[in-house]
Amino acid sequence: MANTAASPLGVYLEHLAKGELAYQFSPDANAAVFYPRVVCPFTGGDNLQWRVSKGMGTVHATTVVTPVKGDPYNVALIDVDEGFRMMSRVEDIPPLDVRIGMRVRFRVHAADGEEPAYPVFTPAEAAA
Protein backbone atom coordinates (compact mmCIF):
# COMPACT_ATOMS: atom_id res chain seq x y z
CA MET A 1 0.00 0.00 0.00
CA ALA A 2 1.31 3.45 -0.89
CA ASN A 3 1.99 5.84 1.94
CA THR A 4 -0.58 8.53 2.69
CA ALA A 5 0.13 11.53 0.48
CA ALA A 6 -0.69 14.26 3.03
CA SER A 7 -0.86 14.24 6.81
CA PRO A 8 -4.00 15.39 8.63
CA LEU A 9 -2.14 18.45 9.92
CA GLY A 10 -0.76 19.12 6.46
CA VAL A 11 -4.24 19.22 4.90
CA TYR A 12 -5.56 21.37 7.76
CA LEU A 13 -2.74 23.89 7.31
CA GLU A 14 -3.23 23.96 3.51
CA HIS A 15 -6.84 24.97 4.08
CA LEU A 16 -5.83 27.62 6.62
CA ALA A 17 -3.34 29.05 4.14
CA LYS A 18 -6.33 29.53 1.81
CA GLY A 19 -8.34 31.22 4.57
CA GLU A 20 -10.44 28.15 5.38
CA LEU A 21 -11.14 26.39 8.68
CA ALA A 22 -11.18 22.71 7.76
CA TYR A 23 -12.32 19.77 9.86
CA GLN A 24 -13.09 16.13 9.28
CA PHE A 25 -16.44 14.42 9.17
CA SER A 26 -17.04 10.76 9.88
CA PRO A 27 -20.00 9.62 7.76
CA ASP A 28 -20.15 6.30 9.62
CA ALA A 29 -20.44 8.06 12.99
CA ASN A 30 -22.33 11.05 11.54
CA ALA A 31 -20.05 13.26 13.62
CA ALA A 32 -17.41 15.93 13.19
CA VAL A 33 -13.86 14.95 14.11
CA PHE A 34 -11.37 17.50 15.41
CA TYR A 35 -8.34 17.65 15.66
CA PRO A 36 -7.84 15.93 12.26
CA ARG A 37 -6.74 12.30 12.42
CA VAL A 38 -5.93 9.29 10.25
CA VAL A 39 -8.35 7.09 12.20
CA CYS A 40 -11.88 7.98 13.30
CA PRO A 41 -12.04 7.83 17.13
CA PHE A 42 -15.73 6.92 17.03
CA THR A 43 -15.61 3.99 14.62
CA GLY A 44 -11.96 2.92 14.46
CA GLY A 45 -12.22 3.11 10.67
CA ASP A 46 -10.32 5.40 8.33
CA ASN A 47 -13.29 6.76 6.41
CA LEU A 48 -12.96 10.46 7.16
CA GLN A 49 -14.04 13.29 4.85
CA TRP A 50 -12.62 16.80 4.80
CA ARG A 51 -15.10 19.65 5.12
CA VAL A 52 -14.77 23.40 5.42
CA SER A 53 -16.54 25.15 8.28
CA LYS A 54 -18.81 28.15 7.71
CA GLY A 55 -16.71 29.72 10.48
CA MET A 56 -19.37 30.48 13.08
CA GLY A 57 -19.12 29.36 16.69
CA THR A 58 -19.89 29.99 20.35
CA VAL A 59 -17.47 30.60 23.21
CA HIS A 60 -17.56 27.51 25.44
CA ALA A 61 -14.92 28.50 28.00
CA THR A 62 -12.59 31.46 28.36
CA THR A 63 -9.59 32.67 30.33
CA VAL A 64 -7.13 35.54 30.27
CA VAL A 65 -3.45 34.77 30.62
CA THR A 66 -1.39 37.41 32.41
CA PRO A 67 2.20 36.79 31.36
CA VAL A 68 5.12 37.97 33.46
CA LYS A 69 6.09 40.21 30.53
CA GLY A 70 3.66 41.61 27.96
CA ASP A 71 -0.07 42.26 27.85
CA PRO A 72 -2.81 39.91 29.07
CA TYR A 73 -4.43 37.90 26.28
CA ASN A 74 -7.44 35.68 25.77
CA VAL A 75 -7.45 31.89 25.39
CA ALA A 76 -10.81 30.28 24.70
CA LEU A 77 -12.46 27.04 23.70
CA ILE A 78 -14.84 27.58 20.79
CA ASP A 79 -17.73 25.27 19.90
CA VAL A 80 -17.85 25.55 16.12
CA ASP A 81 -21.36 25.21 14.67
CA GLU A 82 -20.53 22.09 12.65
CA GLY A 83 -20.09 20.20 15.90
CA PHE A 84 -16.50 20.35 17.05
CA ARG A 85 -14.57 22.20 19.76
CA MET A 86 -11.19 23.87 19.35
CA MET A 87 -8.81 26.10 21.25
CA SER A 88 -8.44 29.62 19.90
CA ARG A 89 -8.71 33.21 21.08
CA VAL A 90 -11.24 35.96 20.61
CA GLU A 91 -9.73 39.19 19.27
CA ASP A 92 -10.90 42.79 18.78
CA ILE A 93 -12.31 43.16 22.31
CA PRO A 94 -10.57 43.36 25.71
CA PRO A 95 -9.72 39.80 26.76
CA LEU A 96 -11.75 39.98 29.98
CA ASP A 97 -14.84 41.00 27.96
CA VAL A 98 -14.96 37.63 26.21
CA ARG A 99 -18.00 35.81 27.60
CA ILE A 100 -19.14 32.21 27.57
CA GLY A 101 -22.03 31.92 25.11
CA MET A 102 -20.78 34.78 22.91
CA ARG A 103 -21.21 34.18 19.16
CA VAL A 104 -17.95 34.45 17.28
CA ARG A 105 -16.71 34.33 13.70
CA PHE A 106 -13.52 32.72 12.38
CA ARG A 107 -10.72 34.58 10.69
CA VAL A 108 -7.20 33.61 9.80
CA HIS A 109 -4.20 34.84 11.71
CA ALA A 110 -1.72 34.95 8.84
CA ALA A 111 1.48 32.96 8.80
CA ASP A 112 4.42 34.82 10.29
CA GLY A 113 7.90 33.63 9.45
CA GLU A 114 8.28 30.06 10.74
CA GLU A 115 4.84 30.08 12.38
CA PRO A 116 2.02 28.77 10.14
CA ALA A 117 -1.38 30.46 9.90
CA TYR A 118 -3.82 29.69 12.69
CA PRO A 119 -7.52 30.32 13.33
CA VAL A 120 -8.73 33.10 15.61
CA PHE A 121 -12.23 34.43 16.25
CA THR A 122 -13.92 37.83 16.58
CA PRO A 123 -17.29 38.74 18.06
CA ALA A 124 -20.02 38.03 15.49
CA GLU A 125 -22.26 40.87 16.63
CA ALA A 126 -21.46 44.38 17.77
CA ALA A 127 -21.37 44.62 21.56
CA ALA A 128 -24.83 45.25 22.97
Partner: protein, 384 residues
Protein backbone atom coordinates in the same frame (compact mmCIF):
# COMPACT_ATOMS: atom_id res chain seq x y z
CA UNK B 1 -13.82 -4.29 36.67
CA UNK B 2 -10.07 -4.25 36.86
CA UNK B 3 -9.20 -7.83 37.82
CA UNK B 4 -7.62 -6.82 41.12
CA UNK B 5 -8.55 -8.34 44.48
CA UNK B 6 -9.56 -6.13 47.41
CA UNK B 7 -6.84 -6.14 50.06
CA UNK B 8 -4.45 -8.46 48.21
CA UNK B 9 -1.56 -6.01 48.55
CA UNK B 10 -0.44 -3.49 51.13
CA UNK B 11 1.75 -0.42 51.40
CA UNK B 12 4.34 -1.28 54.05
CA UNK B 13 6.76 1.63 53.81
CA UNK B 14 6.46 5.31 52.88
CA UNK B 15 8.81 8.27 52.96
CA UNK B 16 9.56 11.61 51.38
CA UNK B 17 13.00 12.37 50.05
CA UNK B 18 14.35 15.85 50.66
CA UNK B 19 11.60 18.23 49.60
CA UNK B 20 11.09 21.95 49.11
CA UNK B 21 14.42 23.37 47.97
CA UNK B 22 17.04 20.60 47.69
CA UNK B 23 20.82 20.90 47.55
CA UNK B 24 22.45 22.23 44.39
CA UNK B 25 23.02 19.58 41.71
CA UNK B 26 20.87 17.00 43.45
CA UNK B 27 19.36 14.89 40.63
CA UNK B 28 15.86 13.42 40.29
CA UNK B 29 17.49 9.99 40.62
CA UNK B 30 19.20 11.05 43.84
CA UNK B 31 15.79 11.96 45.25
CA UNK B 32 14.20 8.71 44.06
CA UNK B 33 17.00 6.68 45.62
CA UNK B 34 16.82 8.68 48.84
CA UNK B 35 13.06 8.05 48.95
CA UNK B 36 13.57 4.33 48.39
CA UNK B 37 16.24 4.21 51.10
CA UNK B 38 14.01 5.98 53.61
CA UNK B 39 10.88 4.02 52.73
CA UNK B 40 12.77 0.74 53.15
CA UNK B 41 14.11 1.95 56.50
CA UNK B 42 10.53 2.83 57.44
CA UNK B 43 9.47 -0.81 57.12
CA UNK B 44 12.76 -2.58 57.97
CA UNK B 45 13.48 -4.02 54.52
CA UNK B 46 16.81 -3.94 52.67
CA UNK B 47 17.56 -2.73 49.17
CA UNK B 48 18.36 -6.31 48.09
CA UNK B 49 14.81 -7.33 49.01
CA UNK B 50 13.48 -5.07 46.23
CA UNK B 51 12.62 -6.83 42.96
CA UNK B 52 10.06 -4.46 41.51
CA UNK B 53 10.72 -0.86 40.36
CA UNK B 54 7.81 1.44 39.54
CA UNK B 55 8.72 5.07 38.93
CA UNK B 56 8.12 8.21 36.91
CA UNK B 57 9.67 11.64 36.52
CA UNK B 58 9.56 14.23 33.75
CA UNK B 59 13.34 14.61 34.01
CA UNK B 60 14.43 11.11 32.91
CA UNK B 61 12.97 9.56 29.77
CA UNK B 62 13.79 6.03 30.91
CA UNK B 63 13.46 6.49 34.64
CA UNK B 64 13.05 2.80 35.58
CA UNK B 65 16.20 1.95 33.64
CA UNK B 66 18.07 4.75 35.37
CA UNK B 67 16.85 3.73 38.81
CA UNK B 68 17.81 0.07 38.19
CA UNK B 69 21.30 1.27 37.35
CA UNK B 70 21.50 3.62 40.32
CA UNK B 71 20.39 0.93 42.80
CA UNK B 72 22.09 -2.04 41.07
CA UNK B 73 18.89 -3.99 40.60
CA UNK B 74 19.42 -5.63 37.18
CA UNK B 75 16.72 -8.29 37.57
CA UNK B 76 13.96 -6.04 38.87
CA UNK B 77 10.54 -6.05 37.25
CA UNK B 78 10.09 -2.52 35.89
CA UNK B 79 7.20 -0.20 35.04
CA UNK B 80 7.74 3.48 34.28
CA UNK B 81 4.20 4.27 33.21
CA UNK B 82 3.81 8.04 33.05
CA UNK B 83 0.42 9.73 32.84
CA UNK B 84 1.35 12.91 34.70
CA UNK B 85 0.75 13.47 38.38
CA UNK B 86 -1.48 10.44 38.84
CA UNK B 87 1.23 8.07 37.60
CA UNK B 88 1.85 6.83 41.12
CA UNK B 89 -1.79 5.93 41.80
CA UNK B 90 -1.66 3.99 38.53
CA UNK B 91 1.57 2.37 39.73
CA UNK B 92 -0.23 1.16 42.87
CA UNK B 93 -2.70 -0.76 40.72
CA UNK B 94 0.09 -2.04 38.46
CA UNK B 95 2.18 -3.10 41.46
CA UNK B 96 -0.79 -4.83 43.02
CA UNK B 97 -1.28 -6.78 39.78
CA UNK B 98 2.43 -7.59 39.51
CA UNK B 99 2.58 -8.79 43.11
CA UNK B 100 -0.50 -10.97 42.59
CA UNK B 101 0.99 -12.45 39.42
CA UNK B 102 4.31 -13.21 41.09
CA UNK B 103 6.24 -10.84 38.83
CA UNK B 104 7.83 -9.33 41.93
CA UNK B 105 7.60 -9.67 45.72
CA UNK B 106 8.76 -6.27 47.02
CA UNK B 107 7.77 -3.32 44.84
CA UNK B 108 8.94 0.24 45.30
CA UNK B 109 7.13 3.18 43.72
CA UNK B 110 9.46 6.16 43.44
CA UNK B 111 9.46 9.77 42.30
CA UNK B 112 12.00 12.58 42.15
CA UNK B 113 11.98 16.11 40.75
CA UNK B 114 14.22 19.14 40.96
CA UNK B 115 11.86 21.46 39.08
CA UNK B 116 12.31 24.35 41.52
CA UNK B 117 16.08 24.17 41.21
CA UNK B 118 16.31 23.73 37.43
CA UNK B 119 13.15 25.65 36.47
CA UNK B 120 9.84 24.37 35.11
CA UNK B 121 10.84 24.79 31.49
CA UNK B 122 13.87 22.60 32.02
CA UNK B 123 12.13 20.05 34.25
CA UNK B 124 9.03 19.57 32.11
CA UNK B 125 9.37 20.86 28.56
CA UNK B 126 6.04 21.36 26.82
CA UNK B 127 5.39 19.36 23.67
CA UNK B 128 4.33 21.41 20.65
CA UNK B 129 0.64 20.95 19.91
CA UNK B 130 -0.28 22.56 16.56
CA UNK B 131 -3.90 22.92 17.69
CA UNK B 132 -3.10 24.65 21.00
CA UNK B 133 0.44 26.04 21.19
CA UNK B 134 -0.22 28.98 18.77
CA UNK B 135 -2.67 30.41 21.31
CA UNK B 136 -0.01 30.46 24.06
CA UNK B 137 -2.00 28.75 26.81
CA UNK B 138 0.00 28.99 30.05
CA UNK B 139 -0.13 25.28 30.74
CA UNK B 140 -1.22 23.65 32.87
CA UNK B 141 -2.87 26.66 34.61
CA UNK B 142 -4.82 27.86 31.55
CA UNK B 143 -6.44 24.46 31.03
CA UNK B 144 -7.71 24.32 34.60
CA UNK B 145 -8.79 27.97 34.37
CA UNK B 146 -10.93 27.11 31.33
CA UNK B 147 -12.58 24.34 33.34
CA UNK B 148 -13.10 26.77 36.23
CA UNK B 149 -14.69 29.34 33.90
CA UNK B 150 -17.15 26.73 32.78
CA UNK B 151 -17.91 25.56 36.34
CA UNK B 152 -18.57 29.17 37.38
CA UNK B 153 -20.81 29.69 34.35
CA UNK B 154 -22.85 26.50 34.74
CA UNK B 155 -23.16 26.29 38.51
CA UNK B 156 -22.57 29.79 39.86
CA UNK B 157 -19.35 28.78 41.59
CA UNK B 158 -17.68 31.92 42.90
CA UNK B 159 -14.15 33.27 43.06
CA UNK B 160 -14.39 33.21 46.86
CA UNK B 161 -15.39 29.53 46.87
CA UNK B 162 -12.28 28.66 44.85
CA UNK B 163 -10.25 30.63 47.37
CA UNK B 164 -11.74 28.61 50.25
CA UNK B 165 -9.88 25.58 48.88
CA UNK B 166 -6.54 27.41 49.06
CA UNK B 167 -7.27 28.70 52.54
CA UNK B 168 -8.19 25.23 53.84
CA UNK B 169 -5.00 23.79 52.36
CA UNK B 170 -2.97 26.52 54.03
CA UNK B 171 -4.59 25.87 57.42
CA UNK B 172 -3.66 22.20 57.15
CA UNK B 173 -0.13 23.12 56.05
CA UNK B 174 0.37 25.19 59.19
CA UNK B 175 -0.07 21.91 61.12
CA UNK B 176 2.55 20.11 59.01
CA UNK B 177 6.19 20.90 59.88
CA UNK B 178 7.30 19.62 56.45
CA UNK B 179 5.06 22.05 54.54
CA UNK B 180 6.62 24.71 52.32
CA UNK B 181 4.21 27.48 53.31
CA UNK B 182 4.48 28.73 56.90
CA UNK B 183 2.22 31.81 56.98
CA UNK B 184 -1.59 32.04 57.27
CA UNK B 185 -3.61 32.89 54.15
CA UNK B 186 -6.96 34.68 53.82
CA UNK B 187 -9.57 34.64 51.06
CA UNK B 188 -8.84 38.32 50.38
CA UNK B 189 -5.15 37.51 49.93
CA UNK B 190 -5.95 34.75 47.44
CA UNK B 191 -8.13 37.10 45.40
CA UNK B 192 -5.65 39.97 45.36
CA UNK B 193 -2.58 37.85 44.53
CA UNK B 194 -0.82 38.08 41.17
CA UNK B 195 -3.15 37.02 38.32
CA UNK B 196 -2.01 33.95 36.37
CA UNK B 197 -4.82 32.74 34.13
CA UNK B 198 -8.23 34.19 34.96
CA UNK B 199 -9.93 33.43 37.35
CA UNK B 200 -6.78 32.04 38.99
CA UNK B 201 -4.24 34.02 40.91
CA UNK B 202 -0.94 32.50 41.96
CA UNK B 203 -2.64 31.33 45.20
CA UNK B 204 -5.04 29.13 43.21
CA UNK B 205 -2.04 27.35 41.71
CA UNK B 206 0.09 24.59 43.18
CA UNK B 207 3.55 25.35 44.49
CA UNK B 208 6.69 24.88 42.44
CA UNK B 209 9.07 22.93 44.68
CA UNK B 210 11.61 20.16 44.44
CA UNK B 211 10.88 16.80 46.02
CA UNK B 212 10.45 13.08 45.77
CA UNK B 213 9.84 9.98 47.77
CA UNK B 214 8.85 6.35 47.64
CA UNK B 215 6.43 3.78 48.96
CA UNK B 216 7.01 0.04 49.35
CA UNK B 217 4.33 -2.51 48.47
CA UNK B 218 4.08 -6.24 49.21
CA UNK B 219 1.46 -8.94 48.99
CA UNK B 220 -0.82 -8.71 52.04
CA UNK B 221 0.13 -12.18 53.27
CA UNK B 222 3.79 -11.14 53.57
CA UNK B 223 3.18 -7.63 54.86
CA UNK B 224 2.29 -8.31 58.49
CA UNK B 225 5.75 -9.20 59.78
CA UNK B 226 7.20 -5.75 59.06
CA UNK B 227 7.96 -2.79 61.32
CA UNK B 228 4.78 -0.78 60.77
CA UNK B 229 1.14 -1.80 60.39
CA UNK B 230 0.37 -2.47 56.70
CA UNK B 231 -1.99 -0.18 54.86
CA UNK B 232 -4.10 -2.30 52.53
CA UNK B 233 -5.06 -1.48 48.96
CA UNK B 234 -8.83 -1.93 48.98
CA UNK B 235 -9.72 -0.35 45.65
CA UNK B 236 -8.15 1.03 42.47
CA UNK B 237 -9.56 2.63 39.36
CA UNK B 238 -8.40 4.79 36.49
CA UNK B 239 -9.84 6.70 33.55
CA UNK B 240 -8.04 8.71 30.88
CA UNK B 241 -10.52 10.94 29.08
CA UNK B 242 -8.18 13.14 27.00
CA UNK B 243 -4.67 14.55 26.83
CA UNK B 244 -5.20 18.20 25.83
CA UNK B 245 -7.89 20.44 27.31
CA UNK B 246 -9.52 21.14 23.93
CA UNK B 247 -10.33 17.40 23.74
CA UNK B 248 -11.82 17.08 27.25
CA UNK B 249 -15.32 15.66 26.71
CA UNK B 250 -16.96 17.76 29.46
CA UNK B 251 -15.04 20.52 31.24
CA UNK B 252 -17.03 20.19 34.46
CA UNK B 253 -17.11 16.41 34.77
CA UNK B 254 -13.86 14.46 35.09
CA UNK B 255 -12.76 10.87 34.68
CA UNK B 256 -12.80 10.72 38.50
CA UNK B 257 -16.41 9.60 38.15
CA UNK B 258 -15.25 6.42 36.42
CA UNK B 259 -12.03 5.90 38.36
CA UNK B 260 -13.85 6.48 41.63
CA UNK B 261 -16.72 4.17 40.72
CA UNK B 262 -14.27 1.39 39.83
CA UNK B 263 -12.33 1.89 43.07
CA UNK B 264 -15.47 2.02 45.23
CA UNK B 265 -16.80 -1.15 43.59
CA UNK B 266 -13.55 -3.02 44.21
CA UNK B 267 -13.39 -1.74 47.80
CA UNK B 268 -17.08 -2.49 48.37
CA UNK B 269 -17.37 0.98 49.82
CA UNK B 270 -18.97 4.32 49.11
CA UNK B 271 -18.03 7.89 49.93
CA UNK B 272 -19.64 7.75 53.37
CA UNK B 273 -17.16 5.02 54.34
CA UNK B 274 -14.13 7.29 53.80
CA UNK B 275 -12.41 8.93 56.80
CA UNK B 276 -9.60 10.93 55.13
CA UNK B 277 -9.29 12.33 51.61
CA UNK B 278 -6.19 13.13 49.59
CA UNK B 279 -7.31 14.84 46.36
CA UNK B 280 -4.78 16.11 43.85
CA UNK B 281 -5.09 19.90 44.24
CA UNK B 282 -2.97 21.20 41.39
CA UNK B 283 -5.42 24.12 41.23
CA UNK B 284 -8.29 25.16 43.49
CA UNK B 285 -10.92 23.96 40.99
CA UNK B 286 -9.54 20.40 41.25
CA UNK B 287 -10.69 19.83 44.80
CA UNK B 288 -14.18 21.06 43.95
CA UNK B 289 -14.44 18.87 40.84
CA UNK B 290 -13.15 15.77 42.62
CA UNK B 291 -15.43 16.20 45.67
CA UNK B 292 -18.32 16.21 43.19
CA UNK B 293 -17.10 13.44 40.91
CA UNK B 294 -16.21 11.14 43.83
CA UNK B 295 -19.68 11.54 45.32
CA UNK B 296 -19.06 13.79 48.34
CA UNK B 297 -21.54 16.36 47.03
CA UNK B 298 -23.82 16.65 43.99
CA UNK B 299 -22.45 17.91 40.66
CA UNK B 300 -22.28 21.68 40.72
CA UNK B 301 -22.43 21.94 44.52
CA UNK B 302 -18.66 21.69 45.11
CA UNK B 303 -18.14 25.44 45.48
CA UNK B 304 -20.82 25.77 48.14
CA UNK B 305 -19.68 22.50 49.76
CA UNK B 306 -16.17 23.81 50.54
CA UNK B 307 -17.54 26.98 52.15
CA UNK B 308 -17.15 27.80 55.85
CA UNK B 309 -13.96 25.80 56.16
CA UNK B 310 -15.66 22.43 55.74
CA UNK B 311 -12.52 20.76 54.34
CA UNK B 312 -10.08 22.56 56.66
CA UNK B 313 -8.71 21.38 60.03
CA UNK B 314 -11.81 22.59 61.89
CA UNK B 315 -14.24 21.28 59.28
CA UNK B 316 -16.23 18.06 59.05
CA UNK B 317 -14.43 16.49 56.06
CA UNK B 318 -10.62 16.25 56.26
CA UNK B 319 -9.15 16.87 52.78
CA UNK B 320 -5.42 17.19 52.01
CA UNK B 321 -4.25 17.12 55.60
CA UNK B 322 -0.59 17.65 54.64
CA UNK B 323 -1.44 21.04 53.10
CA UNK B 324 -1.72 19.67 49.58
CA UNK B 325 -0.02 20.69 46.39
CA UNK B 326 -1.24 24.21 47.13
CA UNK B 327 0.69 24.67 50.39
CA UNK B 328 2.83 21.64 51.30
CA UNK B 329 4.85 20.54 48.30
CA UNK B 330 4.41 20.26 44.53
CA UNK B 331 7.40 19.17 42.48
CA UNK B 332 5.42 18.72 39.25
CA UNK B 333 3.88 15.26 39.67
CA UNK B 334 2.40 15.28 43.15
CA UNK B 335 0.59 11.93 43.21
CA UNK B 336 3.13 10.08 45.35
CA UNK B 337 2.73 12.57 48.21
CA UNK B 338 -1.01 11.87 48.35
CA UNK B 339 -0.22 8.21 49.02
CA UNK B 340 2.46 9.01 51.63
CA UNK B 341 0.08 11.24 53.59
CA UNK B 342 -2.76 8.71 53.44
CA UNK B 343 -0.45 5.98 54.76
CA UNK B 344 0.66 8.22 57.62
CA UNK B 345 -2.92 9.12 58.52
CA UNK B 346 -3.94 5.45 58.59
CA UNK B 347 -0.93 4.65 60.80
CA UNK B 348 -1.75 7.53 63.15
CA UNK B 349 1.59 9.24 62.54
CA UNK B 350 0.35 12.73 61.71
CA UNK B 351 0.71 14.57 65.02
CA UNK B 352 -1.16 17.89 65.15
CA UNK B 353 -2.97 17.17 61.88
CA UNK B 354 -3.94 13.57 62.72
CA UNK B 355 -7.54 12.69 61.92
CA UNK B 356 -9.05 10.73 64.84
CA UNK B 357 -9.85 7.06 64.19
CA UNK B 358 -8.82 7.19 60.55
CA UNK B 359 -9.39 3.69 59.15
CA UNK B 360 -10.00 4.44 55.47
CA UNK B 361 -8.48 6.92 53.03
CA UNK B 362 -9.39 7.87 49.51
CA UNK B 363 -6.44 8.97 47.40
CA UNK B 364 -7.24 10.61 44.10
CA UNK B 365 -4.51 11.35 41.57
CA UNK B 366 -4.87 13.71 38.62
CA UNK B 367 -2.54 13.84 35.64
CA UNK B 368 -2.12 16.15 32.66
CA UNK B 369 -4.91 18.72 32.36
CA UNK B 370 -7.70 16.87 34.22
CA UNK B 371 -6.72 14.06 31.82
CA UNK B 372 -5.59 10.95 33.72
CA UNK B 373 -7.67 10.24 36.81
CA UNK B 374 -6.69 7.45 39.18
CA UNK B 375 -8.31 6.60 42.51
CA UNK B 376 -6.88 4.38 45.26
CA UNK B 377 -8.80 3.44 48.41
CA UNK B 378 -6.65 2.42 51.35
CA UNK B 379 -7.58 0.93 54.72
CA UNK B 380 -6.20 -0.38 57.98
CA UNK B 381 -6.34 -4.05 58.95
CA UNK B 382 -9.70 -3.37 60.60
CA UNK B 383 -11.20 -2.67 57.16
CA UNK B 384 -10.20 -5.98 55.59
Amino acid sequence: MNGLTRGSAAIVGAAESDIGAVAANMSPLDLMAQGVHRALADCGLKLRDVDGIFCATTQARTSAMSLCEYLHLPAAYTDSTIVGGSSFEVHVAHAQAALAAGLCTVAVIAYGSTQRTVGRRQASAREYNPYETPFRPFLPATAYALAASRHMHEFGTTREQLAEVAVAAREWALLNPAAWEKQPLTIAEVLSARPISHPFTVRDCCLITDGGGAIVMMAAARARSLAKPPVYVLGCGQAITHASISSMPNLTSTGARESGATAYRMAQMRETDIDVLALYDAFTINTILFLEDLGFCPKGEGGRFVGDGRIGPKGSLPVNTNGGGLSYCHPGMYGLFLLIEAVRQLRGECGARQVAQAETALVHGNGGVLSAQATVILGTRATL
